[in-house]
Amino acid sequence: MKNLLINSIILLTLASFLTNCSDSSVDSHSDHADAVGLRIVSSGVTIVSYIRDSAVDGVIEAQAGESSGHMDVEFYDDENDSWFIPEEDHFTLLIEIGDTTIADYWQHEGEEGGFEFHILGKKAGNTQAVFTIIHDDHPDFVSKEIPLIVSDGSSI
């Protein structure tokens, strides 16, 4: 019985050391997109932007039955105080339109998931778009709702 006791203590001690060497990895803080704001640029002009708690400044506009011009999406990095476009190797853009009977988006062939898009106006009305940076298979950034207005072509 004494031998059993001694052996058990040795085993427990060994197990304690092994515990410290366990291979459970938390994989701390891989390179996520650290964004706290968004802007949409069309023909070199910023048409929508916000940073942190600021209100969304601007709207995305389109005409019913027509495709908008090319738009780029950039994100604000507050640590570096700069705008950036995530590298497309690991990051893709997801666009969700609130009411797709009013508008939808499209991207050029071969650019799906890239940080540029066009809006296709379907009918006059107001809806909103949410822009998400997908990092591999999870969201790193989810934007505020960006107003999207589709006008009747005849009224413009």
Binding site: M1, K2, L4, L5, S8, I9, L12, A15, S16, T19, N20, S22, S24, S25, V26, D27, S28, H29, S30, H32, D34, A35, V36, G37, I51, R52, D53, S54, A55, D78, V130, D136, D137, H138, P139, D140, F141, V142, S143, K144, E145
Partner: protein, 760 residues
């Protein structure tokens, strides 16, 4: 910090070595007392002959069934209980130095054709050290549930906070998290259940032998932040090594509401001075059902086990233990469009290794000294339904303690003091940006009692330092300047009991508690999908300080006992994660929860009582009510202004309710005992929570009915107990205020539970 880590085991060995050097063996006697009652009537039995074979000493019970032996040399004894018309009982007990062992014996009349059963024996506490509440034996079997919190939720002052069936945590007097210390056999659990509502408590109730709730000065033996108390789950406490007899228990249970089943086995094998203990349990459950349907992703699977090897020579005890706990469980989908529409799966595992050494009488003025060391390796991962790992947490914690019990000195009795140190290494990964950090704690405490006749007091004080060192220092716009933080403060408490008569006494407790913020409270930053939140810490948090007073009257007689308590706690800088009502900058799909320290007050009353209406009919009832208010709160935005980019959050005076405060709760149990059968009607009542916290909704009052039947069969060496319990008998649709998913899912519907336990 690494230096301290490496030195701890050496320091421990040094202390043990020194203790052994000073060990002496003067004989100090122990005592034995108890009472004997009739299994059929529950009434005391007078004139039972009690005989200690080894000492050739005898005594008889008094008219009230009590008996007492004083000055028994330490050791193991066989005690016979004999009375005409009753089956004999032979009971083995271990008498420890300067300890009083308590025996509660139930004798069955011969006509029952059964052997008598021994209900329980345990070390007696002084009255001041007695737990405030205790769950064991029949009560424990009938309330056995999936989690510790669910098992004890109907006890006075207690409630259950949950986020799905698996991650449930007890709430005592409105306080939970780090303010309510959960222990298993006096040791910390080493998990992360205090940090978030989705993190499970790693204590399996089916292997528990007894659950104690401790309040007042005694709690300072365990921590400075034990304002609401300590819940200590005893798994294989103080098992005596009786006559080299192998003993054990087998349990098995089933419940219909989630098709859940659980089983457990434990074995105690004493061989001379050695004692081996092993237990294991397995639990599995599917999605839970309510009157509204099934709640997806609420399944769970838990494996739990422990082994202990103990050597108990005359001079003390040496023991080593190892334990494992693994659990896979689901968090149900978010209540609204927050984060995870399909739920989150959590996989956790925990390994614990511990050793302890107790030395009797190492010096003339020391009764005993105990050293203990434990190491826990905890790890859990959280997976969104897509299979992506959202978060992972690792915590390695070590604790080293030395507790000493001193001989009485002048007017001071039950003097104890101790040293405690702890180290936690915390790492987080996945989506969270919480900085990996190390935490060290050092504490010293003293406890003693005074007896002034009708007035008895107990007092304790504890001083503690906690230092948290992030492995990376930086400044974050949301969290603040992340740097090393160190907190030193004290906690103190005094409890006075005044006996107004033999059965009636008055008690008052004053307590000053202290709680330093934890790693996640300081440095958290990131989405936490299972708790539907984007959590932001506060690197500038100050410690929380509490001043509490509690007074009560208590009456104890054979047919009637009751206690009525009122309390008032002022908490300066109450630390909690406040829903800002604002969306996260990074994740607009999640609300931002900001860690804050705000002044608060919690006050309440509790009542519990038992009354034997007849010899067979017993009425038990409990009631608790509390109000928790913030005295100040934060304003995070200007609702009149859509652009809050320049807004600086500020404090305002308020009287808003604290979040997740339990409403009025009452329980009524009516029990009828017939021979080996016990029938109980249960009514659980909750009032409307008309004072919800910020962003919370009010919950309606409800009453649910239940029924419990227990039957036992006692043989010469076996005791079978069978419990059948029906909860929510009328299949009522109701919502508990402390359930975080109450908006999408009511409480479980009618639940038929079966529980069998075999003692051998």
């Amino acid at each position: 910090m690494a230096v301290v880590f490496k030195k701890m085991p050496k320091l421990y060995l040094l202390i043990i070595f020194c203790g052994v050097l000073f060990a002496k063996e003067p004989v100090k006697y122990g005592h034995l007392k108890g009472n004997v009652t009739d299994a059929k009537t529950g009434l005391p039995i007078a004139w039972v002959d009690i005989y200690i074979k080894e000492l050739n000493r005898s005594a008889s019970t008094l008219e009230d069934g009590r008996f007492k032996f004083i000055d028994i040399p330490p050791g193991s004894y066989t005690i016979d209980f004999l009375r005409v018309g009753y089956s004999e009982i032979h009971k083995h007990v271990k008498i420890a130095t300067l300890d009083t062992s308590l025996l509660q014996i139930i004798m069955a009349q011969n006509s029952f054709d059964t052997e008598a059963i021994v209900v329980e024996d345990h070390r007696e506490h002084s009255h001041l050290q007695k737990p405030e509440a205790e769950l064991s034996g029949k009560d424990m079997r009938s309330r056995m549930a999936t989690t510790l919190a669910e098992t004890i939720k109907d006890m006075p002052g207690l409630a259950e906070q949950n986020n799905g069936p698996a991650p449930a945590r007890p709430v005592l007097r409105g306080l939970s998290g780090d303010r309510l210390l959960l222990l298993e056999n006096g040791q910390r659990t080493g998990d992360l259940s205090t940090t978030s509502a989705d993190h499970a408590v790693t204590i399996e109730p089916i292997t528990a032998e007894r659950i104690e709730i401790i309040r007042g000065p005694l709690t300072l033996m365990y921590g400075t932040n034990t304002l609401s108390g300590v819940i200590n789950v005893l798994r294989n406490s103080d098992k005596s090594m009786e006559n080299n007899q192998i003993r054990g228990e087998f349990s098995g249970g089933y419940e219909s509401v989630n098709h859940g089943y659980a089983s457990a086995l434990n074995l105690e094998i004493p061989v001379n001075n050695f004692f081996f203990y092993a237990d294991g349990s397995y639990r599995s459950a599917s999605n839970i059902h309510s009157p509204g349907g099934s709640l997806k992703n609420t399944n769970l699977k838990t494996i739990n086990g422990k082994t202990e090897l103990r050597w108990q020579p005359d001079w003390g005890t040496l023991k080593a233990e190892t334990a494992i706990y693994t659990s896979d469980y689901g968090i149900p989908p978010a209540p609204s469009e927050l984060g995870h529409p399909n739920g989150v799966d959590i996989k956790l595992r925990k390994h614990t290794y511990s050793t302890a050494a107790a030395i009797k009488q190492p010096a003339r003025f020391i009764n005993d000294i105990t050293f203990s060391y434990d190491l826990t390796d905890y790890f859990h991962e959280e997976f969104a339904s897509s299979g992506f790992r959202d978060a992972a947490f690792s915590l390695i914690s070590q604790h080293l303690s030395a507790n000493t019990s001193f001989s009485n000195f002048e007017i001071f009795q039950n003097i104890r003091s101790g040293f405690w140190s702890g180290m936690r290494q915390f790492e987080a990964g996945g989506l969270t940006n919480t900085v990996n950090s190390d935490e060290t704690s050092l504490a010293g405490w003293v406890y003693f009692e005074n007896d002034f006749g009708n007035l008895k007091t107990s007092s304790a004080a504890r001083i503690e330092n906690k230092t948290i060192t992030p492995r990376e220092e930086k400044t974050d716009l949301r969290v603040g300047r992340i740097r090393e933080r160190s907190f030193t403060d004290y906690a103190a408490a005094i409890k006075a009991q005044y006996g107004l008569s033999k059965d009636f006494f008055f008690s008052t407790t004053l307590i000053r508690a202290f709680r330093a913020p934890g790693i996640e409270e300081l440095f958290a930053d990131g989405p936490h999908l299972p708790s539907y939140a984007y959590e932001v810490g506060n690197a500038d948090l100050k410690p929380e300080r509490t001043y509490g007073i509690e007074s009560g009257i208590f009456f104890e007689q054979h047919d009637l006992d009751f206690g009525l308590t009122a309390y008032y706690n002022r908490i300066d800088g109450y630390l909690f994660s406040q829903n800002t009502g604002e969306r996260s900058w990074k994740r607009n799909d999640l609300f931002r929860y900001q860690m804050v320290g705000l002044d608060a007050v919690i006050r309440g009353i509790e009542f519990s009582g038992n009354y034997n209406l007849t010899k067979r009919l017993k009425l038990s009832s409990g009631l608790s009510y509390l109000i928790g208010n913030l005295k100040e709160t934060m304003v995070y935005s200007d609702p009149e202004n859509h652009d809050n980019s320049d807004f600086k959050p500020y404090k305002i005076k308020t009287n808003e309710s604290l979040p997740f405060m339990p409403p009025l709760k009452a329980t009524v149990d009516l029990t009828y005992d017939i021979n080996n059968l016990s029938l109980t009607y249960l009514a659980h009542i909750a009032g409307r929570q008309y004072k919800p916290g910020r962003f919370e909704k009010s919950t309606a009052a409800y009453i649910v009915h239940g029924f419990n039947v227990e039957y036992f069969i006692a043989g010469t060496s076996l005791l079978h107990t069978i419990t059948l319990r029906i909860e929510n008998l009328t299949n009522e649709t109701y919502r508990r205020h402390l359930n975080r998913i109450k908006e999408i899912f009511p409480e479980p519907g009618r639940n038929i539970k079966f529980f069998y336990k075999l003692y051998f």
